[in-house]
Amino acid sequence: GESVGLHLPTLSVQEGDNSIINCAYSNSASDYFIWYKQESGKGPQFIIDIRSNMDKRQGQRVTVLLNKTVKHLSLQIAATQPGDSAVYFCAETNRDDKIIFGKGTRLHILP
């Protein structure tokens, strides 16, 4: 089936280091990808998105990379802070306004 998934369910990173969260997708027709951050007890919060005509997009402390050849998406967080602790979801869509979410990766920050 067509789905979006994540390689690692939990990622532990030292405070101050960079974090890299990975995601694989299988639908080659997907043309828009989103990363969400979900803190405990809250709804997912939009972080950054990327369209399929791009391979890199940068925001504040975050970078999303898209490799369409291997259907791989990653989120890089620079200088990880305690406030970055959350579950991160990748998501894909292919123009029908329905977003398919991955299962999520929990980012744990070590002091």
Binding site: I34, P44, R51
Partner: protein, 114 residues
């Protein structure tokens, strides 16, 4: 700016009781609206979506229903709750007529069925 509100934040209901969760969006017109359910430690499952007043599409067969009585109001209901209806319910909106836009989520309702 646009905001989305869900209430209540938490709800404890007995099996067999009715349910009504409400979601409203402010600051935009004719949004696409969505209801999701999230099981503990899991991803999001789309339950319903709506592209306009009275227009509801159901994604999975279930004990729940949705209604959109006003442009920016989306309601999730059940006549008789089951234990399996427990979960975290999220409402989301996205701009209509604009492809490749993220959905924006409310802070959810945690529903516990006893």
């Amino acid at each position: 700016s646009q905001t989305i509100h869900q209430w209540p934040a938490t709800l404890v209901q007995p099996v067999g009781s009715p349910l009504s969760l409400e979601c409203t969006v402010e600051g935009t017109s004719n949004p696409n609206l969505y209801w999701y359910r999230q099981a503990a430690g899991r991803g999001l499952q789309l339950l319903f979506y709506s592209v306009g007043i009275g227009q509801i599409s159901s994604e999975v067969p279930q004990n729940l229903s949705a209604s959109r009585p006003q442009d920016r109001q989306f309601i999730l209901s059940s006549k008789k709750l089951l234990l399996s209806d427990s979960g975290f319910y999220l409402c989301a909106w996205s701009p209509t007529g604009q492809p490749n836009q993220p959905q924006h989520f409310g802070d959810g309702t945690r529903l516990s069925i006893l």
